[in-house]
């Protein structure tokens, strides 16, 4: 497996009037060619901030970034955190591309689709206008837009939401990047369109042997396309593992909470099992485990450490690790029983 991206001990914080917001607090993860790695978490868990850091899209002077983001620029590794503005700009859209949550507002309303696509190519290949246009049509065709030559002359408002997301994907692929970051790519779309876009992403990943970093809060999406999953809570990864590990034998109480809160059609008379409480403020995180105030399994922790120390990311298996003070074998038993009860 070829490694494309390695994030190590990434910290991102923002200075605000209320204090320092530690949006990302020591995140490490890797992405290989041909696989989809998901970052799952609720709003404010730091998943989008992590992905924007990879693109170097945080505003200068606003975000404080430390750690390393080692990114393969077609074979040569570059540390995004320590690159100059121009060097990052050169990587963006060429070595790593990004598609965003809202395709309705992510395209410039005043420029023709074809020109917006061509621009992505021209930025990295100056003066090659003809090639850029040809490439744009090729990519539009590839992502399943009928009559690309005609549609390239149209404006974004003439496209439906799903079609616009296809256009965004085509734009991301203009320079054949190895890494694609998809930030909630289907959240704003209809469910049927959602499935089409996910299928398209999977197809393109295989075709180009890309690595896809998928940011989402939707466990259904994760189950469909992800190979490996990182669950984030309060700026940290609380559990990482293969997609089956996460869904069938979760080890972090938060992951279990997420799985339990997915509504199920079969159990129609049951209340939704929401996780009680609210995520903590990222300005003043509690000293102990950030999830402790909402955790139902604190009493199983041996030394009542939940409120005093932060759990480390550990696991008996090197590929499936989680943060929790409750002994892992005990969690295995407890969580498996709970899952069985919920999922039937």
């Amino acid at each position: 497996m070829t490694e494309l991206l390695r994030i190590e001990d990434l910290h991102v914080s923002f200075k605000t009037d209320d204090g320092i917001v530690r949006a990302v607090d020591g995140v490490s993860l890797t992405l290989n060619a041909g696989e989809t790695v998901a970052i799952v978490g609720e709003s404010g868990s730091g998943k989008t901030v992590t992905s924007l850091s990879v693109m170097g899209l945080h505003k200068k002077g606003q975000a404080e970034i430390s750690g390393s983001i080692s990114l393969s620029d077609h074979g040569t590794f570059k540390d995004v955190v320590h690159l100059s503005d121009d060097e990052i700009r050169d990587i963006r859209g060429r070595a790593v591309s990004m598609i965003f949550q809202d395709p309705m507002s992510s395209l410039h309303p005043y420029y023709k689709i074809g020109n917006q696509l061509a621009e992505a190519y021209l930025v990295h290949n100056r003066g090659k206008k003809k090639e850029a246009m040809a490439r744009a049509l090729e990519m539009l065709d590839l992502v399943g837009i009928p009559e690309p030559a005609k549609r390239a002359q149209e404006f974004p408002h003439q496209f439906s939401g799903g079609m616009r997301q296809r256009v965004m994907i085509a734009m991301a692929l203009m320079n054949s990047p190895q890494i694609l970051i998809a930030d909630e790519p289907t959240t704003a779309l209809d469910v049927t369109v959602q499935a089409q876009i996910l299928a398209l992403l999977s197809k393109l990943k295989k075709e180009f042997n890309m690595g896809i970093l998928l940011i989402t809060h939707d466990l259904g999406v994760v189950a469909q396309v992800a190979d490996r999953v990182n669950v984030m809570y309060a700026g940290r990864i609380v559990e990482e593992g293969a997609v089956d590990d996460i869904f069938y034998s979760p080890l972090a109480p938060y992951t279990l909470g997420l799985l339990k809160s997915v509504p199920r059609v079969s159990k129609n008379n049951e209340r939704l099992k929401a996780i009680p409480g609210q995520p903590p403020s990222l300005i003043n995180l509690p000293v102990g485990c950030p999830f402790a105030p909402r955790c139902e399994y604190k009493q199983h922790s041996s030394e009542a450490g939940c409120n005093t120390t932060r759990p480390a990311l550990l696991g008996t298996s090197s590929t499936h690790r989680s943060r929790c003070h409750v002994p892992e074998n005990l969690r295995h038993e407890l969580f498996a029983a709970e899952l069985k009860e919920v999922q039937g």
Partner: protein, 331 residues
């Protein structure tokens, strides 16, 4: 496009008709005898009655309005026999105070007001948009702060203060620009004199408007910079300069043009204060004088003219908007 223009032109004609009818009616309800206003101090009842007949004030109001309207297209002859005089089409009436056809008075005043408005418009667009761009680009740094000082000063100073200050210092004390006593020279006849004549009035008007445009441009740019499509442009690897001057500025253009078109239309109606300070015989001064002297036919004409300009500028702005914003479709 042609269909659109046709429809809008018909709509505009209707609006103008209604505006003129309303204005006409208001003036006829004023507690003045329009015939009595037509003669000076040595007035006799005979002269008043003769003028009443000559100007058609003896006829019922709807007939007067009809005569007014037909005069616009066919010209109008007042009185009969040797005392008759004619205002050729388009005739907007006759001013007894000035003993002239209203159309001729407007024809003299209009170029001055248009020159004043266009010059000021160009000036405030350059200064306002320029400062707005600088302020947005250097947000919260000293260029931004200084521009907000300018905005604050310029918006709080009324034009009669800036105008008089310019007149006193630039013209009278420092003698940089001669006082415009010689009168209006057209741009084609003598560009240098034309500039000298208008430079201070332009600056006076431009200062007031530039402040508004600075603030508007800055706010619009900063708002656009936060748009998702700007992030998309950055994600493509587009450089900051192109992100700003192409992607962002382009989105701000359409609303700016709307604003400029309407402000320009407002100025054609008459920059009364500025024209008065600098003694420019433009439409604003004409209107002001006519109001003072109850020269109702002139007030009527200038009011209708102002309405026409606003309507026409609205039409132009809408068409430009459709060109600038592909989402706006003309049907």
């Amino acid at each position: 496009m042609l269909k659109f223009i046709g429809r809008r032109a018909a709509f505009a004609a209707m609006t103008i008709l209604i505006v003129s009818a309303v204005v006409f009616m208001i003036f006829s309800f004023l507690p003045f005898d329009p015939a009595a206003l037509t003669c000076g101090q040595r007035c006799t009842d005979q002269i008043v009655e003769a003028n009443r007949v000559r100007l058609g004030f003896d006829k019922p109001i709807y007939e007067q309005y009809w005569l007014f309207l037909s005069g616009i297209f066919a010209g109008r002859t007042y009185g009969a026999g040797s005392a008759a005089f004619t205002c050729p089409a388009p005739s907007f009436g006759y001013s007894f105070n000035e003993n002239a056809c209203v159309t001729d008075m407007i024809r003299e005043a209009l170029p001055i007001t248009i020159s004043l408005a266009i010059g000021a418009l160009i000036m405030w667009l350059i200064v306002g948009i320029g400062l707005g761009i600088i302020a947005a680009k250097f947000k919260n740094r000293w260029p931004d702060t200084s521009s907000s000082v300018f905005v604050l000063l310029a918006t709080s100073l009324p034009t009669f203060v800036t105008g008089l200050a310019l007149l006193i210092w630039v013209s009278i004390k420092w003698k940089l620009v001669p006082l415009s006593l010689t009168g209006y020279t057209s741009l084609i006849d003598n560009p240098y004199k034309f500039m000298q004549y208008f430079i201070l009035p332009w600056i006076t008007l431009a200062i007031a408007y530039a402040a508004i445009y600075t603030r508007f441009t800055r706010a619009a740019l900063l708002e656009t910079l936060g748009e998702d499509y700007i992030r998309t442009a950055r994600a493509k690897g587009v450089g900051e300069r192109i992100v700003f001057f192409k992607h962002t500025l382009r989105a701000v253009l359409a609303p700016l043009i709307t604003l400029a078109g309407l402000d320009f239309a407002g100025l054609i109606g008459g920059a009364i204060i500025t024209e008065t300070i600098f003694n420019l015989p433009g439409l604003g001064r004409l209107t002001l004088r006519s109001v003072y002297e109850f020269d109702l036919s002139v007030v009527l004409a200038t009011t209708i003219l102002a309405a026409v300009v606003v309507i026409v500028m609205n039409l132009i702005v809408d068409m430009l908007y459709a060109v600038l914003d592909p989402r706006v479709r003309i049907v």
